[in-house]
Symmetry: C2
Subunit: 296 residues, 2 copies
Amino acid sequence: MNHIDRPHYPLFNEADSAEIVNARIGPNVASRTRQVAEAVVRHLHAAVKEIQPSHEEWLAAIQFLTDTGHMCTDWRQEFILLSDVLGVSMLVDAINHRRPDGATENTILGPFFVDGISVSTHGTNICHDGKGEPLVLRGRVIDIHGEPVKDAIIDVWQTNDDGFYDVQQKGVQPDGNLRGKFETDSEGKYWFRTVKPRDYPIPDDGPVGRMLRTLGRHPNRAAHIHFIVQASGYETVITHIFAPDCPYLAEDTVFGVKESLIGNFELTDNEKEAASLGFPSPFWSVRQDFVLKPSD
Amino acid sequence: MNHIDRPHYPLFNEADSAEIVNARIGPNVASRTRQVAEAVVRHLHAAVKEIQPSHEEWLAAIQFLTDTGHMCTDWRQEFILLSDVLGVSMLVDAINHRRPDGATENTILGPFFVDGISVSTHGTNICHDGKGEPLVLRGRVIDIHGEPVKDAIIDVWQTNDDGFYDVQQKGVQPDGNLRGKFETDSEGKYWFRTVKPRDYPIPDDGPVGRMLRTLGRHPNRAAHIHFIVQASGYETVITHIFAPDCPYLAEDTVFGVKESLIGNFELTDNEKEAASLGFPSPFWSVRQDFVLKPSD
C-alpha cells in the first residue's frame, strides 16, 4: 500500500476558486507581476461566478477569443479594436493621463499614427486628393499659466473624405495624404489647411464587428482630427478634435469623445479670406489651442 | 455656425466607464446576451481600475492575447489551456455539475477525448505498447441509492508511460493505445486491464507555458485516468481517477484534483492472480465505483 501525499496546496473548490489558483503563484515572482496576476484571476473568477456560463457559452467565449487572435496580422490588431469598443483603451488612457483642469485632455491614439513625418511650413495644405470641405485650423500651444510654448511639435492626421487613412489605401490615396507635422513659432502659434473630418466605421468585418452587431451597436467613430503635441519639459498630449455637428458625437464606438475636445468649427463666408487661402467660400474655420502641463 | 447635437448617451469618464459602455447596448438585444455583456464589461473595467495598467502593460496584455490566438490551430487550443491553468475550466465545470453528496464528482474533460470507440469485452488490456506498470481496475456503476446501473457505458483514456496520449503521437503509439469503452453487466460491474497513469506536462511551448514560468508555476498534471460514465436516465459523469502517490496531486496545474477522485491504488503481490491476469507480480489493483445521480 502506497502512502497518500499530504497536499501542500488546497484542492479545488468552487467557493474558494480564485484564492486556490492564486495560492500557486511562486514565492520569487516580482511583486507587480503577482499583483496583476492575482487581480486578473480574482476578477475573472468573479465574472464567471456571476455569469454562470453553460459549457456551450464557455466554448463560445473560447471560440471568440480564438477568432479574434486569428484576425490579428501585422496590419490588423483585432484585440486592440476589442479593447477600444469595450471602453478599455479609453479607461487605460484616462488612468495614465489625469491632468489638472484646463490642460488639454488625452484621448486614444488609434492604430493609424505614422511616426517620422517631416515638419511642414505653416499654412501647408495636408489634403492632397482634393476631396472634402476645405478647412483652416489655427491656434496656439500654451502652458497651464497661459504662456506660449514655442518649438512645440504638432503631429496631425485624419481620414480622407472617403473615411480611410492613407495607410489603409496605399496606391489609392497620395502618399502622406492628410498627415502633417508643424512647429509652433515664438508666440506658440501654428496653422495649416486641411478638410473637414468625417465619421467612418472601424474595420467591422471580423469578430469585433460581429460582436458589435450582436450588441445592437454601430461601428462608427465620430468625425475627428488626430493630434500629438510634444514639447520639451511638458507632458505629451495625444488627442483628437471632434467636429461638433457629427451625428455620432455621443455614440463614438470607441468612446473617444470628451466635452473639452469638441472643436469650435465655424462655417466662414468670406470671399477675400477664401481667396487668400485658395479655398472656395464658404469654408470651415477652426480655432484650437492646446494647453500643456509640465512633465513630472 | 453649425449647431451642437445634444448627446443621447453620456460621454466617457473614468468613474462611470463601465456603465457608459453598457448604456450603448441596443434595445433589442436578447436578455441573456445583455446580461453576459454587462457583466463582462463591469468586471473587466473593475479589473483595469484595480490594476491601473501602464500603456506598456496594456500593450503586453494585447500581445499576450494575440500570441495565444496565433498559437491556436485545429489540434492545439491555447485559450482552453489558458482557461485550464487559471482554474476557469474547473470553475465552469463545478458551476454546471453540482451534485448531491455521494454522487461521483466531475472534473475537466481535457482536449484528448476521442468519441466513437467501440465497446470491448470485460478484462481487455487497453495498453498496446507494453510500457508502464500493469494495473487492473475493477468496480461498479451504481445509483445514489446503491442500486446497480446495468448497461452503463464507460469511456476510458490516459497517456502512455511516456506521458503522451495516442492522438499526440500518431505513428509512434499503436492506434487507440490506452483508450477503451466498456459496458456494465446486470450487477453494474465492469473491469479492464491497463497501466498505472503517470504525471505529464501540458503543452508548455507557447504563451501559456511562458505565463506559467513567469508565475513560478510548473506545467504538470497529476497522474490520472480519464472516465466518462453514461447511462440512460442518469446525468453523465466526466471525471478522472488520480494516482494517490503522484507528487503533483496537490499541484495539478489545471486544478483537476478533488479529494473524492483520489483512487484506491493497491500494490498487489499475488503470483496466482498475476498469472491469471497475464501480469508480473506485484501489480497495481484499483477498485473504483461510479455513483450516478438521476438526470433532471
